[in-house]
Symmetry: C2
Subunit: 380 residues, 2 copies
């Protein structure tokens, strides 16, 4: 394993709480924020303290575990009599106090799931992780709240560890697609910061470098949240992988100049037919790559494929606050009085995708048929 | 004439000096800066106090006139004896002091041309205006410096007035291309602020509205200098023309959603074969427009067509300071240590251009043949 692997710990379990790097303030500062409840994790997802489809999934899993721990601790206090006035105890809704533990716990857990489900709409990993946690919960539903909470926490740990293993596997498959010396464009940040570590698209770059290939990265700055300028550039600089920053509108020029050999991006949801939802602007890069005969790859863990969605048209596209487009953070430059749109994702039709890089290998020219084949035997 | 016409006076002659709106600080502040010499005008062009191909041409013309006025005033002081220590007199290079007036004047003028020519490389209107001023100068070269200066100032005034007339003519031709209710995307700012007034692309919108059409504008924010967010949005808000701001990477999404009916942009230089250099990102918009069968129009005064350049490949593309891409103004967000590129323009091949909107009418499917025909009889 590379020594670089653990340079960025996007999410970590520490002192019985979830800690997440605050990605809103990177790279100016590197700080962890602490989370104790499903509601606070949901707010962390909504406000983009954590972002990137796989990382959102891991965060949501911990959100469920945290809620279970909170509820079981509160119920324990209720019976022990040691600390009847504890804040955890008092946080239990008074309407639950007359009910038995299972009713209180189950109602609290459903509230937790509800707030997490509503945090962001586009990345399917959120719903995938919540579904997986729910199944684990159902499997141990007859056990005590404390036991359920421990089982859910173990599952969240497993989802985190699994995410890194999957990224490594995708990295190996993807690295084989890149020639030595390749100049690879990426959009947004599909890196360690978008996952539990290693990254999807940037994981491919890390794996290529680990395999001894000299590659260089061209990073779209990715307005309005600037994940490319702030996060991808920062990750690549940390790894000593050569990286060049451009504004989003320069990608076409770079391709026309012959300065891009391949494109690798991440994804937030892939429909059953291979259509790819990803950060706004990905579609434009894909159209340009097609025009210039540049391969366009999507690094895509199986958890990002949504067989319940037939085509990209049905993927919900989040529209975020117009404040994000007025400027950056509190620095606004847009003219007063202008209307603003802020769709946060777009859909790239499968026909523009050269290949999906998954932990099971690369699916070239993805379509409904080869995606169905790929997903055979995968737990829904 | 519309009452809106003079709302924005980008450049104006006032108290024997050139005043230009400082476009670096718009829309937060609307301020004029004053210019007295060719060198200061060149610096104003270089630093983008003034930008936009036609406006740069007008500014350069005034730069030549200002230099002639400065030199002739200094020479007058030399002979009058009234003010031998005047700053204008002292600014004359000491090596000229022994020479006769014509030598001093001519050498000073050549210096002025030199610094103006070197200010920015891509917009051909700069060179076109300087060439025109030089011809006027040559035509009156035997007259006194004071007479030459007055003739050059009159020519600069004429170039300014002509620019507005040309924009109005382009506007009328272009407006006829837009349907009532059209939602029109534009990139960068080809507005009153990019010209002496009215604008090229935005002039088409103004003319369409004046003709009673209801149109709405979608403005790409246009990183890194944010001409769309700051200048185009501001101009349209001033005019009460509905305008929606998006980041550059949203144009593809908007087209895919069926929310764009046409594209109109300006240009900095059109090659003899119809290839169009314009603000970085224009090429990406053109490629997407083609994919979505959306007409892509370029508002292009004849002064922007460069018959000396065969194809877009030969148009010099300015690479500006990487500081511009690190953030905006002094607010930097890019990760430390990242390399940066900053090409300021790109080339859209003629095949992607539905039509060139000129003051002589619209040239559909521009190519070498119909551009040669269009330019017949135009002074080179």
């Amino acid at each position: 394993m590379s020594s670089t692997e653990m340079k960025v710990e996007t999410l970590r379990w520490f002192n019985n709480r979830l800690e997440m790097v605050d990605q809103r303030i990177l790279p100016a500062a590197f700080e962890y924020l602490s989370y104790y409840t499903a509601a606070s994790v949901a707010e962390g997802i909504r406000s983009m303290v954590v972002r990137g489809a796989p990382a959102i999934g891991v965060a949501a899993a911990y959100g469920v575990a945290l809620e279970a721990l909170k509820l079981s601790n509160a119920l324990e206090g209720r019976h022990s009599g040691l600390d009847p006035e504890s804040s955890a105890f008092n946080k239990l809704d008074s309407r639950f106090r007359g009910n038995d533990d299972a009713v209180v716990f189950n109602a609290g857990m459903e509230e937790g799931f509800k707030v997490l489900v509503a945090s962001r709409p586009t990345a399917v990993n959120l719903f995938w992780a919540l579904q997986r946690m729910r199944k684990v919960w159902e499997g141990v539903a007859t056990q005590s709240p404390q036991e359920i909470a421990q089982r859910l926490l173990a599952e969240a740990h497993e989802i985190l560890a699994e995410d890194i293993r999957i990224n490594k596997a995708m990295g190996a498959h993807g690295a084989a697609l890149l020639k030595d010396g390749a100049r690879v464009l990426t959009h947004c940040n599909a890196g360690a910061l978008a996952t539990a570590g290693w990254g999807t698209a940037l994981g491919v770059f890390r794996s290529a470098v680990e395999a001894g290939k000299k590659i260089s990265v061209i990073a779209d700055e990715t307005r309005p949240f600037l994940q490319g300028a702030r996060l991808t550039a920062w990750e690549m600089v940390q790894e000593n992988i050569p990286v060049t920053l451009i504004t989003d509108n320069m990608a076409g020029y770079m391709m026309a100049q012959g300065e891009i050999d391949a494109v690798v991006v991440g994804t937030d949801r892939v429909a059953a037919n291979g259509d790819v939802a990803n950060k706004i602007g990905t579609y434009m890069v894909a159209v340009l790559a097609k025009r210039h005969n540049i391969p366009f790859y999507v690094a895509c863990p199986l958890s990002t494929i949504d067989l319940n969605i037939a085509t990209g048209k049905d993927i919900p596209i989040e529209e975020r606050s117009v404040e994000e487009v007025k400027g950056f953070r509190d620095y606004h430059w847009a003219a007063e009085g202008v209307k603003i749109r802020n769709p946060s994702f777009d859909v790239t039709p499968a026909e523009l995708v050269t290949g999906l890089i998954t932990e099971r290998g690369v699916v070239l020219q993805p379509d409904a048929q080869n995606i169905r084949k790929l997903m055979r035997g995968v737990q829904g």
